[in-house]
């Protein structure tokens, strides 16, 4: 290699191009290759709401960002070290994220008048004096790709489809990545179409060689292996981890898994993933709508399955009535909400954390349900299992929150050994003879849970329903005192879960100037930002909530230990509201509603401002 190699600890790269340009695939490949090289990785795909928005337009731009590092990382990075743009629209919509001095790699062939018009730019944006702050590398990717695959005699259309592999190859060269994993991928994926496989391979190598052979005025970069906890790893996306977590939870409790769902972005991939795993006793039911989905889920729960339903904001709104029934039936199930930008249809492909209040309160009457939130793609696996532990032990639906950012993001997952995961023991009451005392379907145990009696069991025949029911017998009851008693005991049961879940851990000192309290997908940005502040000697600690209802039992005292509490959220302050109404604590809020996660730097800046 002609160029020098710079050793760096982390790199953030974004590929941006037209929806049809294959940017998601390109980013995923770089991610996997980097993970295989032992880096820690985190990703952020970002795509438009249209399937194929008009080619060349700003609306049609699709992006994929990945950070890889030789140290623990928790976010896909704020500012870009390298930005690859396939057309002018991608340039203008992404350039503001490239750091000054960063590398801008451009497919020069697309910087022509026609494309400028589509992107609604007046003139060539590369001629803007602002560009001086970047190191711009213009490559005629289209032309070079065509040339590279020439001998295969493909149509231009097909040849041009390979140009993302060319871009990938160039970036691989730039970051000293191994081509082999991607070559293997090409073979596996396009094995059935040998000419396509060959073309992609040629394009990939051409890009790599282009870097190596052209005059390399730039140095290449090397990111060493990260010091991850020893073990076997694989890259996993949030929705996949959630699906696998559910399969695992079902197996741990010796149950089949039932999913009732209706497709909706960004939750559909859980349905897709689970429907592949019938061999593990998974039944997936694509219902006619979200209401049918949750109702079928309740039906299957009555039948004794580990039963779950998945959706996103608008679909969860539709499930409200049936969730209330699930609550009063006291049957275990998971209701999984992959949040997206709201209100209404909102920004369906963007991330947000704005369904928390809906999940807490979006049902008629006094209808409390536990709420648990995943914090990162790999964490979704554990979240699903933990949620089911609670549901099964306390006989209640549990709401699981994730979001578009977690769902589509990827990170290395330390592969667990199934056999070492703690089993989930569920006792179903057994048969009864005529002479036994009558079965009491609403008699509660020490957890205040009622028995999960399965249809098919002789002597346990019973009826459940949405009308208020008498304590112990479960018969319909309009008795005033019984109603108050039952409302209170249902609430008490949920509150008691706090005794079961772990205390909240603090990252940093147990008291001090500022506590950063976070939940859900902002975990990574908050962790990184707090670590930076701590490194600068600031008195900032971090606690991340997994359970939002009920709160961990030590939360109140913890909040009291800090001069200030700040809650960063991708909404207008929903957890903040709940914290205030629960503990009276006036936490500060950092709110962002841009369909994107927090950047570390914006958090660091705000934390510092708060400490003053």
């Amino acid at each position: 290699m002609a160029s020098t190699v710079e050793h760096i600890s982390r790199a953030t790269i974004r590929f941006a191009g037209d929806s049809g340009d294959g940017m998601q695939l390109t980013g995923t490949q770089l991610t996997n290759t980097s993970a295989l090289a032992g880096n820690d990785v985190a990703t952020f795909p970002d795509f438009p709401a249209e399937i194929r928005a008009p080619r060349g337009t700003r609306a049609g731009v699709s992006g994929f960002q990945v950070q890889f590092a030789s140290e623990d990382i928790f976010t896909p990075g704020d500012q870009l070290d390298t930005l690859v743009v396939m057309n002018p629209a991608a340039l203008v919509t992404n350039i503001s994220d490239l750091r000054s001095g960063g590398l801008l790699i451009v497919n020069e062939d697309n910087f022509v008048d026609k494309e400028f018009r589509l992107a609604k730019v007046e003139s060539n944006p590369l001629d803007d004096p602002e560009m001086d702050q970047y190191r711009v590398i213009k490559i005629k990717m289209t032309l070079l790709t065509r040339t590279a695959v020439e001998e295969l005699e493909l149509s231009t259309k097909i040849a041009d489809r390979c140009k993302n592999f060319f871009a990938m190859g160039f970036v691989y060269w730039l970051y000293n990545r191994d081509l082999q994993p991607t070559l293997d991928f090409i073979n596996a994926k396009f094995g059935g179409k040998p000419e396509i496989a060959a073309a992609n391979e040629k394009a990939l190598k051409a890009g790599y060689n282009y870097g190596e052979t052209t005059e390399a005025a730039i140095s290449t970069y090397q990111v060493e292996k990260a010091k991850l906890e020893p073990g076997k790893y694989k890259n996993i996306m949030g929705n996949q981890a959630l699906a696998w977590g559910c399969i695992t939870a079902a197996k741990l409790s010796d149950k089949d898994l039932f999913l009732g769902s209706y497709p909706i972005t960004p939750a559909s991939d859980i349905l897709h993933e689970l429907s592949k795993h019938k061999k593990f006793g998974v039944r997936t039911f694509q219902a006619e709508d979200e209401i049918a989905a949750v109702c079928a889920t309740i039906g299957a729960a009555f039948g004794g399955h580990m039963s779950i339903t998945t959706s996103s904001g608008p679909g969860i709104a539709l499930k409200g009535e049936a969730m209330g029934l699930g609550m009063i039936l006291e049957l275990p199930m998971l209701i999984i909400n992959i949040q997206r930008g709201g209100p209404s249809t909102g920004l369906p492909t963007k991330t947000e954390q704005s369904d928390l209040l809906q999940c807490m309160y979006g049902r008629n009457g006094e209808s409390p349900l536990p709420v648990i939130a995943a914090r990162s793609p790999a964490d979704c696996f554990d979240t699903a299992i933990d949620a089911w532990r609670v549901a099964a032990k306390f006989m209640c639906p549990v709401i699981v929150l994730s979001d578009g950012y977690i769902a589509n993001g990827a990170e290395p997952w330390r592969i667990p050994d199934y056999d070492t995961i703690e089993k989930i023991v569920i006792d179903h009451p057994g048969e009864r003879a005529e002479e036994d005392p009558p079965f009491l379907p609403y008699k509660r145990n020490e957890d205040l849970s009622r028995p999960w009696a399965l249809p098919g069991t002789k002597g346990l025949e019973h009826r459940i329903g949405g009308l208020e029911k008498e304590h112990e017998t479960g018969n319909v009851s309009y008795d005033p005192d019984n109603h108050e008693f039952m409302c209170k005991i249902r609430q008490e049961k949920i509150d008691k879960i706090a005794e079961f879940i772990p205390e909240l851990e603090v990252d940093g000192e147990e008291s001090g100037d500022l506590l950063v309290l976070s939940w859900g997908g902002t975990y990574g940005a908050c962790t990184t930002a707090v670590t930076q502040c701590q490194a600068e000697g600031l008195s900032v600690s971090h606690a991340h909530l997994r359970f939002i209802n009920p709160f961990p039992r030590n939360l109140e005292s913890l909040l009291g230990n800090f001069k200030q509490v700040v809650i960063p959220e991708l909404n207008l302050g929903q957890l903040q509201k709940i914290i205030k109404s629960t503990f009276g604590v006036d936490a500060e809020g950092i709110h962002k509603l841009k369909g994107r996660p927090f950047t570390v730097s914006e958090l660091v800046q705000q934390f510092k401002e708060l400490i003053g």
């Binding site: 790893y233 019938k278 209401i291 309740i298 039948g303 029934l325 459940i464």
Partner: protein
């Protein structure tokens, strides 16, 4: 079936709960016939589940000694689909009303039927909202004056059985609350059918819509207004069995037997016709022009949703009988960190 099975009597299918329908309500009769039908089939009580929505009719499960769920308004077919998919070993009944099934719940009904889930759906049609005290329903006749339609309703009613035909139902039947033998028999046949059995029962609400089915239940008029279907038999009705239905092109017409019209000229009922056009045509026969048919309109064999769903799971399990989660976890690209 084991020979030790104690034989259950109709009364054994009743629960200990007080039945709270209005005195004289047609629901009582349906309850009684259901108990009889279940006793007759000898299926164990603990293997049966009744799922209902909301409405007077939907209180039904409370009065049965089987497993049961009184769910929410209109969604019973969806709960039942989930239960039956997870537990194909159970016999699952759906109890619903004309409002529950056809107003708020129309879509779930339609999809349960088109999937052919192995459920027995019994629609208590009293052409009114009973529980909410008397608003018109999707089966109320045009011009109906109710609390919500003081000038008469202007909505064209749905014909439940036509809707069922429209979504490709494999078992379609109709009976009448007071026609007890016919009703018990129909329920039993429905239970035997594999796939969705859809049964409309004409039910009198003596409080809010008394006499809605008078023409079909009054001793004096019923034989002229009701035609009992029998597979393979000609369509004959009337107090003296002297009237029949003949086909004129695609349209049915009422004819009198005799005077050159013989039984063989009549339309013969074919409940097993591969195409549902016959069932459709029968479902359109309505008072006062035509007698209304009761009995089994259609009964065909077709793949059953829950069977197929479970067959896929079994096939996948057989193809990978030693599937281990650890294999799943370790699939794809993995790497070791030392």
């Amino acid at each position: 079936m084991s020979t030790e099975l104690p034989v259950l009597k109709a009364a054994d299918f009743g629960s200990d709960q007080d039945v709270r329908w209005c005195p004289g309500c047609g629901d009582y009769s349906i309850l009684a016939q259901m108990k009889k039908a279940l006793a007759a089939q000898g299926f164990p009580r603990e293997k049966i589940a009744f799922i209902s929505g909301i409405g007077c009719s939907s209180r039904f499960p409370y009065y049965m000694s089987t497993y049961g769920m009184h769910s929410i308004h209109g969604r019973a077919p969806a709960f039942a689909t989930g239960l039956k998919s997870a537990r194909p070993d159970l016999q699952v009944w759906v109890i619903t009303g004309d409002g529950d099934a056809l107003s708020i719940g129309g879509n779930h009904l339609m999809h349960a039927i088109r999937r052919n889930v192995n459920l027995n759906i019994v629609l208590f049609n009293n052409r009114i909202y009973g529980l909410t005290k008397g608003q018109y329903s999707p089966t109320s006749e045009i011009g109906k004056i109710t609390k919500s339609t003081p000038m008469g309703s202007v909505d064209n009613p749905l014909t439940p059985l036509s809707v069922a035909v429209g979504c490709g139902a494999t078992f379609i039947a109709r009976s009448i609350d007071t026609n007890v033998k016919h009703l018990a028999d129909t329920l039993q046949k429905a239970a035997e059918h594999q796939g969705t059995s859809f049964i409309e029962v004409y039910q009198n609400c003596n409080i809010f819509n008394d006499g809605a089915w008078k023409y079909a239940t009054d001793r004096a008029t019923k034989q002229d207004n009701v035609l009992e279907l029998e597979h393979g038999k000609p369509l004959i009705f009337g107090a003296e069995s002297n009237k029949g239905i003949r086909l004129n092109g695609l349209n049915p017409e009422v004819v009198e037997l005799g005077n050159g019209i013989a039984e063989d000229d009549l339309l013969f009922h074919d409940a097993k016709a591969p195409e549902p056009t016959m069932a459709y045509l029968l479902s359109r026969m309505q008072q006062p022009e035509f007698p209304e048919a009761i009995g089994i309109f259609r009964q065909i064999d077709a793949p059953v949703y829950d069977d197929q769903l479970n067959a896929q799971v079994e096939a996948a399990q057989q193809a990978a009988s030693d599937a281990k989660l650890n294999d799943l976890f370790n699939s794809g690209n993995t790497w070791e960190v030392g």
